[in-house]
Amino acid sequence: MSETPGGLELQNLTMNFGSVRAIDGIDLTLPEGKFVCLLGPSGCGKTTLLRLIAGLQNPSSGDIIFNGKSMTGVPSHKRDFGMVFQSLALFPHLNIAQNIAYSLRIRGQSAAEMKARVEELLEMVHLPGVGDRRITQLSGGQRQRVAIARALAIHPRLFLLDEPLSALDAKLREAMQVELRQLQRSLGITTIVVTHDQREAMTMADHVVIMKDGKVQQYGPPLEIYRKPATAFVADFIGASNLMPCAVTDSAAVELYGRKIVTTDLSDTLRPGQEAMLSVRPEDIHILSDVERETNSLSATVTFIRDLGAQVEIMLQHGEQHLIATMTPKDKPDVAVGDVVCVEIPAEACRVFPA
């Protein structure tokens, strides 16, 4: 029950389910007191990774070091971690106060101590005075808050949440994201959240771990991942990307459908002649209705215009290649479906990945 939260280190962590390798040799150091999101598509191993950290499952090999101590052989009930489950897992046979006090009762606290702590926690999650209600008398958002309060009752050393907001409707979810982030910041507790929603991760996280097939694809602050995705998968998963097959021509340009695209991002590992993948964010593409450029442009036909009011999406096609450009309404070019336009791909907006 240490009051100081600590950093977490995963060493060559591997988890096999039969012949399936759910976690594939993960090495990762998560800093103390930070909010970390494990993000990835379903089946990428993010929930399994969280369960390994929680001690609900034992890794096939590798080690988890918390506060400088190996967690191998430490059962989940002796780790002093707090966890919020996807189903919330509130006990239906107990009322709100008894649910929150469960971990305190296990630790033998007196009735007065428990009552004071429960009141403090309910205050913290903005639900004062609901202690003697049943779980069934609360709304989804209120249950969510109770589950968070219950997990934080013992001042856990590590706070784990498995898709905690997935059951809430979109509006409530956005509000809870902000609230959860503010709560974590005020407590300064090391927090790990599993999510498949990149918007959620961008809202809450100090650091994001992008996972795919049991491996870490990229780890870093969300904006850094957004601006400099390490792989084509990350570029596509975090914010939409236009991915186009291209060939490297020299140290500063690629060839895309016969056009020369100058880029500032070519890494040394890419050799001239090599097949590659060019990625451009939809908001970085410019549509020019009248001008024809020598480089960094492509002609395309407008196939659909989605005007969402706050944002405009223009869908384009060049041969078999589909492209999306997004912009604010005031930047919307004067084009219509069926027009052939010139698409500008700015050199500094290009990311090139090995194919």
Binding site: H77, A151, A153, L160
Partner: protein, 294 residues
């Protein structure tokens, strides 16, 4: 079966097809439950003819005969014995079934098939198997003697513990099969949440699994109680005459004494008493749930 369904749907032409299930259910319920029960109720008021059978009448002599210290004591013993057997069976079956639902799929299927096989054994076979196992000449006590635990072999039957053992064995597979679906549906995250909050596996079992499944446990005890109440061969093979339950006496009256009216009266009384007990148990369980005490 299909011929019946055909004629039923033919007759119901013009009716909404939605009516078919409730109509079918009521017909079957009437045919196989209400009519036999009605016949038994009627017979319980009939007049017994010595040396012959019975004749239609309306008299309460059969019920009056039951109001006698001897039969009341038997009724009390039968109910007590069935409650004891049902509670012991559920006490053993609940942790067993809980572990079973967390075992691998293959293990689960094997155990369930095995239990179904045991369930298919008749009371006669179970009674004679246990009487052999508990006998002096061929029973388990010989094994204890061989292991040097006892000086000489002994017979453990007929006795009350032997009878209780037989009844628990009889109702155990039934109890497991009733508990299994409910325990497999229990959200494993509830137990995991308790573990994360510091509860050991044993503490999790008693503070989360058992209270959450309380209603299931109560209804399973009721089912096992009713199930063992009907046993009439085990008391005769594994118990002494004082351990003969009301079911044994009903059989005795109906078959050997040819006193069907009295047998019917006893059966009706047994039915009423067990219904009252079930009602009380359900009411207690309900009040508890509404009261919200944990």
């Amino acid at each position: 079966m299909s011929a019946m369904e055909d004629s039923a749907s033919g007759a119901a032409r013009g009716f909404s097809l939605k009516l078919l299930p409730p109509v079918y259910a009521s017909v079957m319920l009437g045919l196989f439950f209400l009519i036999p029960l009605g016949i038994m109720l009627a017979v319980s008021f009939f007049h017994r003819v010595e040396g012959a059978f019975y004749e239609p009448a309306f008299e309460l002599t059969n019920y009056a005969r039951f109001l006698d210290a001897f039969f009341i004591r038997i009724l009390g013993f039968s109910i007590g014995l069935s409650i004891a057997a049902a509670v012991i069976a559920v006490l053993i079956a609940f942790p067993f079934t809980y572990s079973l639902t967390r075992a691998r799929r293959g293990t689960q299927i094997f155990a369930l098939v095995f239990l179904l096989a045991v369930l298919s054994l008749s009371e006669v076979i179970i009674g004679f198997s246990w009487s052999t196992l508990l006998s002096r000449t061929a029973g388990v006590s010989n094994l204890f003697v061989a292991l040097g635990l006892f000086e000489r072999s002994a017979a453990y039957y007929p006795s009350l513990p032997a009878l209780l053992l037989g009844l628990v064995y009889l109702s155990f597979p039934y109890t497991v099969l009733v508990l299994y679906p409910a325990l497999s549906r229990l959200d494993p995250e509830l137990s995991e949440a308790a573990r994360m909050m510091g509860a050991s596996p044993v503490r999790t079992f008693f503070t989360v699994v058992v209270p959450v499944m309380k209603r299931t446990i109560i209804s399973t005890i009721i089912l096992a109680f009713v199930f063992t109440l009907g046993a009439y061969i085990l008391p005769q093979t594994l118990g002494k005459p004082p351990h003969w339950t009301l079911s044994v006496h009903i059989t005795d009256q109906a078959i050997f004494e040819a006193n069907l009216p009295f047998a019917a009266a006893m059966a009706i009384l047994l039915l009423l008493v067990s219904l009252v007990m079930v009602a009380i148990t359900l009411l207690v369980g309900k009040e508890d749930a509404v009261g919200g005490k944990a």
